[in-house]
Amino acid sequence: MDKPFAITLDPGSSLANHTGSWRTSRPVYVDRLPPCNKQCPAGEDIQGWLFHAESGNYESAWRHLTKDNPFPAIMGRVCYHSCEGACNRGQIDEPVGINSVERFLGDEALKRGWKLTAPTAESGKHVLIVGAGPSGMSAAYHLRRLGHRVTVHEAGPLLGGMMRFGIPKYRLPRDVLEAEMQRVVELGVHVQLNSKVENILDTMQDGKFDAAFLAVGAHIGKRATIPAGDAAKIIDAISLLRSMEGEDQPMLGRRVVVYGGGNTAIDVARTAKRMGAEPLIVYRRTREKMPAHDFEVEEALQEGIMVKWLSTIKQADESSLTIEKMALDSKGFPQPTGEFETIEADSLVLALGQDVDLGLLEGVPGLQVSDGVVQVGSNMMTGHPGIFAGGDMVPAERNVTVGIGHGKAAAKHIDAWLRSEEYVAPVKHDTAAFENLNTWYYTDAPKTVRPMLDIIRRQSTFDEVQGGLDESTALFEARRCLSCGNCFECDNCYGVCPDNAVIKLGPGKRFQFNYDYCKGCGMCVAECPCGAIKMEAEEI
């Protein structure tokens, strides 16, 4: 067209006008650390695997998850999921049911027989692992993936450590436990069961190990000094629970008193209940002060377990106990009141905590022990070069997830140490705080409730109490994730830019800014639901 001069213009010719020069600050895409990821003791990239689960790609989700933690089916049952406490969604309605989706993925993997990824090359190094609990097996998995030869020495007859001999099966079915353990073994991890390490240095030398990771747990039940008659039947919780795995189940009688307020006390009481007893928990302080997790106490109470708060046991006899009532002082500590009471009891189970058996470490030079646990550096190495440790035997919170995290961390450090290097963890991103989110964009969606076994069967069988999610509820739950701090391809930035300065790269490829035109208005930042964009001052 022979167009009239100046008044008629060619389409889209304003591309010649680079409005980017107006900008005083620029938007940049970032990945922030979601609070769940930050909180997870096993260092899982929760938001990362939920991203895959959201699209129904469960295998990708599982593979992403197992990069950090090889035991999702176990985690999905026994992890105390502190991630959910940190979840930003908790400030909108309820936290995302991360743990339930994790279990779904774990179960899905077992159902479909997904295998862990084998190492691509062998390093030629050989690492000894002592103890086949979660920490030891986690380390075995990660070291094996890094190409190292791994041999696990386990004193007991089966894999799993306290998960096998402590956590009751109504919470963690043994087939699940066994399957996830075996999947690690299948990577080529060498396991020697019933092979207690008596002296670590000897074992290392005998097996020509290049390094060792110790994860022997804490198995010695603490004893309280309770004056007891000869006939009094007193057992410790760990022994009791361990014997549950064996052929002969212990004789506890009808009236079982459990002394203590931790998770172990609860598990013992619930186990006793399932064996037909009428358990009573005696605890020094109040429910609020109980170290056991609230949901566990709640479940126990539902099952009809009685608790005697603010009470200490003064004397144990054949069929009765003497109890002293306590009162909390101003600082919240229980103080004796001098008021006594006698209750009937056929047996008394002590659930007062566990100590570590450090026998195998005797005479190891450089080693440091304090408060009954082995001291390690931030690289998980003990004072003795080449000997690393983790899990219940080192100073930390005692739970499966922490143990798994230790195993993973130790594996990375051992790997570096074997190459005479030091492992430097990548710098962590800034946290994706609630303030970074624009929550308008998320649909209101209350958390999915996991099904619970009916109460009668909970009181009489060891069937698993808590059910899992099905495919549709798992998807729903995964999609409740806000994807804090990480782009989930909602297209908002692409859509809301008044200057078309956002380039959409296509599914899975995210977006890019076109700084030729971006005027720096900040709208994309304000309207990104998940806080995956930030504004940076332009250097002028």
Partner: protein, 417 residues
Amino acid sequence: MLKQTEGSHAVAEAVALCRPEVICAYPISPQTHIVEGLGEMVKGGEVENCEFINVESEFAAMSVAIGSSATGARTYTATASQGILFMAEAVYNASGLGLPIVMTVANRAIGAPINIWNDHTDALSQRDSGWIQLFAETNQEALDLHIQAFKLAEEVSLPVMVCMDGFILTHAYERVDVPTQEQVDAFLPPYEPRQVLDPKEPVSIGAMVGPEAFSEVRYLAHAKQMQALELIPKLAEEFKTVFGRESGGLTRSYLTDDAETIVVAMGSVLGTIKDTVDEMRAAGEKIGVLGITSYRPFPIDSVRAALQNAQRVVVLEKSLAVGIGGILSTDVRMAMSGLQLRGHTVVAGLGGRAITRKSLRALFAKAARGELEHLTFLDLDWNVVNKQLERERTTRRSGPAAESMLRDVGVIAARIG
């Protein structure tokens, strides 16, 4: 085909023969009969493939025309007087955008005082709007000029106003030769726009232009009118070959060759002037007439050529540039610049005042005697004017001038429309 018909209807038929595609209409006397006629023809199916739109104002009429013309449709509208002022912003816009709209202006005075009768003030108010302005002398010429106007407009991409005297022409029943469709089709090809709104080839029309290019854009508008200056006589020639009639062109001379006095005028008054000239010629007076058909572009060269051998020029115009005098005469004087000629401006026929042969004869005779003043208001009632001036000098609250003067001339009520 020869027929006895009303001027408005003749124009309506001419427009219809031009195969218009969009017509927008808003009523104002004395233009109404034209669009009424067209409306009926479109509604009755005589004009095919045409949208007739009853708009809500002249401003909308021109705006609709802008839209349809920019979309490549041959577009027509008509107005007069107040209407052209109401559409003024769009009038300028249409030419600025180079849209070949054709509009009839049924010339009428502009108020206040409101007056429906003929003069040229309305069209001349848009003198600088960038439109081509053609003035018809007769109904036949009005008809013919519309056919030429579409072709002219479309060739230079400029809008064209065809001006015809309200009532005098629009409402006069005269014999006209209405061409056949074949003739018109042979003369006027389908509209091929220079720029068009079309999704196949998108453009932005109507950009904002700053000082860096504005003068050039305006110059180009001027250059296009200069092209029209060349084109208008050619089209008149072409027209003649197809239709066998002289019509249009830039100017028309009548007995000017040896004339000492030349009267310059536009529109239907040329007929009366020619009659007067004939009478005076018979009496031996060397007098001639120059009719201006193309007021914009103004044909400076041909005006100059026609006038150069005369001794005096009387510009008789139906318009008044208040505060200076003539409008047409200003342009004629520009054409005369450097020539040793006496120039006279005569303002005549305002608001429908009759221009009689008698008055003209006296006027021209006076001019020939060298007694005509520089600026004359033909047949002005000095009595009324002086009375009013006196009234205003003496009384602060002298009241509305028009009404006072009406009382003075003895008209009790005036029909207005």
